[in-house]
């Protein structure tokens, strides 16, 4: 019974990926490439060898955090579309504090910087959260606006007062940060990946076993019932928005610490919307977020090899991602497929 339920849960995301791939191959054909070659090189680039698998795992660390961040907001019925802004703010906080406190030993350094990144991201999201709760300002628009403001702020900081020497707009490199070491020699599975996995576990437990987590889900499922049940809506919503932003902030911090070693302008692009896609595809469950982050990480690494070996522009992947979001958003589409296939069997 349990297996059946899990299969039922999996069927919507899997079918929607399938539909998206079918629609995507039409786009690929129209653009004058061969879908077979595109998909096979995508797959090979993402999971084809040990090295590419490692690359995928490396890429999916910030994605896991972004997915969890989006999930945290979705669970209580808030659309936090401004993840990218929170990622950016978190990254800014991480690099600025990181550069100031280089004297600390590595684990402490990472910890302190991550806390600052989390606080910055959380506070940034709280702006939109407070606007929603106290002024009923729609969070979809406000978070997007905060995105643009954060991006402009970062551009100002790292092409102005905090720009590293040279012509590329970026911050100074962080000495200690690149040292987020691999767990074992020769792998690209860094401690960051381990942290991400434990975060997944934490979130799963948080929503299943804590009162606050239950309140958040209740607020998202039916806010009237939740309110009648004595859950304080404003508080719960603000808290989940802060949580969402905080996790996104950590994603930004890790992007600085584990991937780039500094703030590079434009490094955050796409992480916000990917995070949303991951949460939607993962059906708002921690395990689902994990699986779909691996898929999206794979798309990111695979797209590079697709561009390199087949000459197919890597942006094709973003069409694919968009299609996945679109189809996942439409449960009836999937259901209509299932009903049709059942009808044929009988």
């Amino acid at each position: 019974m349990r297996i059946k339920r899990t299969l039922g849960k999996l069927s919507i995301p899997l079918l929607s990926i399938l539909i998206a791939m079918l629609a995507g191959s039409a786009v690929i054909l129209v653009c004058g490439y061969s879908p077979g070659a595109a998909y096979s090189s995508l797959l090979r680039g993402a999971f084809g060898s040990f090295r590419s698998c490692m690359g995928t795992f490396e890429k999916c660390v910030p994605l896991i955090f972004c997915g969890l961040a989006a999930m945290a907001a979705f669970k209580s019925g808030i659309f936090n579309i401004g993840l990218e802004g929170q990622v950016v703010v978190g990254a800014i906080a991480y690099i600025l504090t990181g550069l100031k406190i280089q004297f600390l030993p590595l684990p402490l350094h990472v910890l302190v910087c991550s806390i600052f990144a989390m606080l910055a991201g959380g506070l940034w999201a709280m702006i939109a959260g407070a606007m929603k709760v106290y002024c009923r300002a729609n969070e979809v628009v406000s978070t997007i606006m905060l995105n643009y403001i954060a991006l402009n702020l970062a551009e100002y900081l790292f092409s102005g007062p905090f720009m590293a020497e040279g012509t590329i707009p970026q911050s100074e490199a962080l000495e200690t940060s690149k040292l987020l070491l691999p767990v074992w020699e020769g792998s690209k599975i860094t401690w960051a990946f381990v942290i991400a996995c434990s975060m997944i576990l934490f979130m799963g437990i948080f929503y299943r076993y804590t009162v606050t987590g239950y309140n958040m889900i209740a607020a998202g499922d039916n806010y009237k019932a939740a309110e009648a049940g004595g859950i304080r809506m404003n508080q719960t919503r603000l808290l989940s928005m802060a949580m969402s932003g905080g996790i996104a902030g950590i994603a930004g911090g890790l992007l600085v610490a584990a991937t780039y070693g500094r703030y590079v302008i434009g490094m955050s692009s796409g992480y916000g919307f990917d995070g949303m896609a991951i949460a939607v595809l993962g059906q708002n469950s921690a395990a689902g977020v994990f699986l779909s982050s691996i898929l999206f990480g794979g798309l990111r690494t695979g797209s590079l090899s697709m561009a390199m070996f087949e000459g197919i522009p890597s942006e094709l992947v973003s069409i694919l991602q968009g299609l996945i979001i679109l189809t996942v958003s439409a449960p009836l589409l999937i259901k209509s497929f299932r009903i049709k296939s059942r009808g044929k069997k009988q």
Binding site: I81, S142, M145, N152, L316, A330, S336
Partner: protein
């Protein structure tokens, strides 16, 4: 005096994409569909307009292409929202991402560059015969691109249709309760489809103004969040097309100020924040009646 006139004229010019998009969003919102895909519709419109002008050598054919392609693209969104009852916010974001990716890929395929397309024919400025000789009015009313005059017509027309004609009542009723509309023997889904397509076409015209009137090529990320700003505008305007236009002009003013202040020693990044900050402020004061109808899914 002349500077003030010029600032007003420039604000009007800057406001046109927002005007189209916010009216488009209002029409879709009236029928009960939150057009979160506005950004994507504008992007598609801006690009397909350039394509049309590129292949046919005429900017107005580009505008027509943009309108048609925008309507078709919005139809996809409509099918998902109406037939398959998608979560409108998620589907809208999906449409935006697809639009961005599609335009990137097509830019590489057709123009061989991600950043800029080739130069194409652009819309010429129209001087109105009598008005162009009257001192003050010549700056204020004459010398805009044809799309600006079209916007004025669209605003008035949509106001008349929405508030003064039976079709408009049906449209508004659909947004309030589509089951009632169905029970009266009208097809609410048809009304929704039409309004979403009109929304796509109009916002594509807004996009094409950016690429064929302000410039004469498509450049990457040229829509720059205007679709989302337009969402905030029609909320603030309470979906009234005339108010949409006026508020868009205010936003045009912020963009003009931003351009004019570039002479001052303020970092450009802070200046480019101005429209977004204004949107945030406006959201704070906006009416409380805008709720995205949430489906229980997600």
């Amino acid at each position: 005096m002349n500077t003030i006139l010029n600032i007003i004229a420039s604000s009007i010019r800057m406001s046109i994409p927002l005007g189209y998009a916010s009216i488009a969003g209002a029409i879709s919102e009236f029928s009960g569909i939150v057009a979160l895909g506005l950004e994507g519709f504008m992007t598609i419109g801006a690009f397909s307009g350039v394509l049309g002008a590129y292949y046919f050598g005429n900017a107005w054919i580009g505008v027509l292409t943009a309108g048609a392609v925008g309507a078709l693209y919005a139809l996809i969104f409509g099918v998902f929202c109406i037939k398959y009852q998608s979560n409108q916010v998620v589907a809208g974001v999906g449409m935006n991402i697809i639009a961005e990716g599609l335009v990137y890929v097509l830019m590489i395929g057709i123009f061989g560059s991600k950043g800029k397309s080739e130069m194409v024919d652009s819309l010429s400025v129209i001087h109105i015969p009598v008005i162009k000789d009257i001192p003050v009015l010549n700056v204020l009313l004459s010398g805009y691109s044809g799309l600006a005059y079209l916007l004025a017509a669209v605003a008035v027309l949509s106001w008349v249709v929405i508030y003064k004609m039976p079709v408009g009542i049906r449209l508004r009723a659909t947004g309030i309760n589509d089951k009632v509309v169905d029970s009266l023997g009208l097809r609410s889904n048809l009304i929704k489809y039409i309004s979403v397509m009109v929304c796509g076409a109009l916002s594509a015209l807004g996009g094409v103004f950016l690429s064929l009137s302000q410039l004469n090529f498509y450049s990457k990320d040229m829509v720059a969040g205007r679709g989302y700003i337009a969402l905030a505008i029609f909320v603030f305007a309470k979906k009234n097309p005339m108010y949409c236009v006026w508020i868009s002009v205010l936003f045009g003013l912020t963009e003009t100020i931003q351009l004019r202040m570039q002479a001052f020693p303020i970092p450009t990044q802070f200046l480019s924040m101005i429209p977004y900050l204004c949107t945030l402020l406006m959201l704070l004061f906006a009416a409380k009646n805008f709720k995205i109808r949430r489906k229980e899914h997600v």
